[in-house]
């Protein structure tokens, strides 16, 4: 069996049917008992504070209308003192999102603040095993204070079991976590083992422990929002990948995210009809990138001129914004897009941007999503701060992610690609299937200014007019060393193209690289 049927107190109470009993409809009083049990089980304490939906309503709102089926709905952690069952603490089950099966587990904050006890953990694990066995994505709706203290070591063991299945599921199905209330301890760690985490602003928090225990442990005085609010995690820490304003937006974002993803590793991609790129953006594409390489611009102008003009979902928009990571479509096929964003910190790579980028590429690889990389990178940010943050280790994660990713990898250098950052941004050396450079771009170990200062130090020192010589040498370097034709002649980029050709080139390459998929 793929999951062991749990033994609950309710199961133990039930009288096993015997062969001697005729299969006739239950007598009215037995129906009454069942109705009462269901009513008691389903009666929810009214949500408090900003919580606008019960756990069951959350499952129903996330899923297609009427599709939710609860797993072990009568399961209970034990009766209340008055004898009414309290439920397991989680509303778990399955349903459909845009017609595709999805497994959900919604913490029930109305039962002991959603604290994870032994029975609740078993119920979540049952849902996880079901999803792993059948190959359906899992959406965890988190709203829990963490491990249930009265359950002691049984609660911890149960939480550990959830984590172990989070890790097992990584190699099987997409996992999405929604943070719809204060999530402490285990309720924060499980999301960190899933692929994408969405927080509702002002309502969801994630932390190891909340304000009271922080105060007791270290003396630090901070609010729940200051310790683990959505601003902390979507801007500063990168623990969460999307901030939304309401529960309804969280469900919409989850459905949109799932629309780009296969149900399981190796599963069918969600290919739709191709949509042309935005015509205005296509027209502007040749001029989207400023000629002067020091001038910043919004890389979205390039993406608009290449990708299908349809739904996109940018993840981690405010964390490490010098790198864009988003899902979109090309030729109707879902793709992961990675791009330098010159408009934010010049489009540099640093520690945080590297971690963000590597994580995204690794995810795309795991679920066979093509990776489209748009490059305009001045380099890895050097200096004491970045070295202290471990930029070498984090940058290496980017290299590893691209090398290990076996999904189609297409890369285009739109303006400049220098040094280690050139290699890191999906270069041919790391296994990109097809690479292009725009005709005006520069690819080199370093930019013209730095190269001339290094290579021509003596001439410059001896020159009557060092500025004029520097300008002349930089221009020569740009033509002789940095222009993309050298890379193309060496076969290190496949071709030098005009901006307006990019979409057609990428579509053709993607069709070629995915041609064997449906056969």
């Amino acid at each position: 069996m793929f999951w062991e049927k749990p033994v609950t107190q309710l199961d133990a109470d039930r009288t096993a049917p015997t062969a001697a009993q005729p299969t006739v409809p239950a007598p009215a009083d037995q129906r009454e008992v069942l109705t009462q049990r269901r009513d008691a089980r389903f009666a929810r304490v009214e949500p408090k504070g900003k919580r606008v939906h019960t756990a069951r309503e959350r499952a129903e709102l996330l899923l297609d209308d009427g599709s939710f089926v609860e797993l072990t709905p009568l399961r209970t952690a034990g009766p209340r003192p008055d004898g009414t069952p309290t439920g397991s603490g989680v509303v778990a089950g399955w349903g459909l999102v845009d017609g595709r099966p999805v497994v959900v587990a919604c913490h029930d904050a109305a039962v002991a603040s959603g604290a994870i006890g032994a029975v609740m953990a078993e119920t979540i694990q049952a849902a996880q095993r079901f999803a792993i066995d059948r190959g359906y994505p899992i959406v965890y709706v988190n709203d829990s204070g963490g491990a249930r203290v009265p359950d002691g070591i049984f609660a911890l063991h149960g939480c550990g079991g959830i984590f172990a299945l989070n890790v097992a599921a990584q190699q099987r199905v997409p996992q999405i976590s929604l943070i719809l209330g204060p999530c402490a301890g285990a309720a924060a760690y499980s999301p960190a083992l899933t692929d994408w985490t969405i927080m509702v602003k002002g309502q969801g928090q994630m932390f190891l422990t909340g304000p009271d225990i922080v105060k007791a442990a270290t003396g630090e005085d901070a609010t729940a929002e200051e310790i683990g609010g959505s601003q902390v995690h979507t801007v500063t820490s990168g623990v969460s990948h999307l901030e939304v304003d309401s529960e309804d937006e969280a469900f919409d974002a989850t459905r949109l995210l799932l629309s780009f993803l296969p149900s399981r590793k190796g599963g069918r991609q969600t290919v739709q009809s191709a949509v042309p790129a935005n015509p205005g953006a296509v027209e502007r594409l040749p001029h989207a990138v400023p000629e002067k390489s020091s001038v910043v611009f919004d890389m979205n102008a390039v993406l608009d001129g290449v990708l299908d003009n349809g739904a996109r979902l940018e993840l981690m928009p405010e964390h490490a914004p010098s790198i864009l990571t988003l899902f979109g479509r090309l030729d109707g096929r879902p793709v992961g897009v990675v791009a330098n964003q010159p408009a934010a910190r010049g489009g540099i790579l640093d520690s945080k941007a590297s971690v963000k980028l590597a994580r995204f590429v690794e995810f795309c690889g795991r679920f066979d999503l093509p990776v489209l990389t748009f490059v305009d990178v001045p380099g890895f940010l050097p200096g004491t701060v970045e070295e202290g943050r471990g930029v070498i280790t984090h940058g290496a994660k980017v290299l590893k992610a691209y090398v290990e990713t076996t999904s189609p990898k297409l890369t285009v250098v739109v303006r400049k690609a220098f040094g280690g950052a050139y290699i890191a941004m999906g270069s041919a050396s790391l296994g990109a299937h097809v690479t292009w450079a725009w005709s005006g771009s520069e690819i080199a170990v370093m930019g013209p200014g730095g190269a001339v200062a290094l290579l021509n130090r003596r001439e410059l020192a001896a020159a009557d007019d060092p500025d004029a010589l520097r300008t002349e040498l930089a221009a020569r370097y740009r033509e002789d060393v940095a222009r993309p034709y050298l890379a193309a002649e060496a076969g290190i980029v496949d071709d030098v193209i005009h901006p307006e050709e990019t979409r057609d080139r990428m579509v053709a390459a993607l069709r070629m690289l995915t041609a064997g998929e449906s056969a």
Binding site: S294, V296, A344, R345, G346, G347, V385
Partner: protein
Amino acid sequence: MIEARADIVGNIWKITARVGDQVAKGDTVAVLESMKMEIPVVAPAGGHVSRILVDVNQIVQEGDAVVEIDPTASA
């Protein structure tokens, strides 16, 4: 008071705002030179510029305040 801060370590290349200027959220108040890029320092909210906190050619670290803005004077 709010501050327009440097997003990245770099050299103050230009200070485009002057004390007393009205600025809107997102307006460029100074330009940093870093990684051979011209990186704008923008106002996080609207208001009037109350103090310039740096000099041209000064090195600033990520997060350093560059220009002080008085948001109450935005009307």
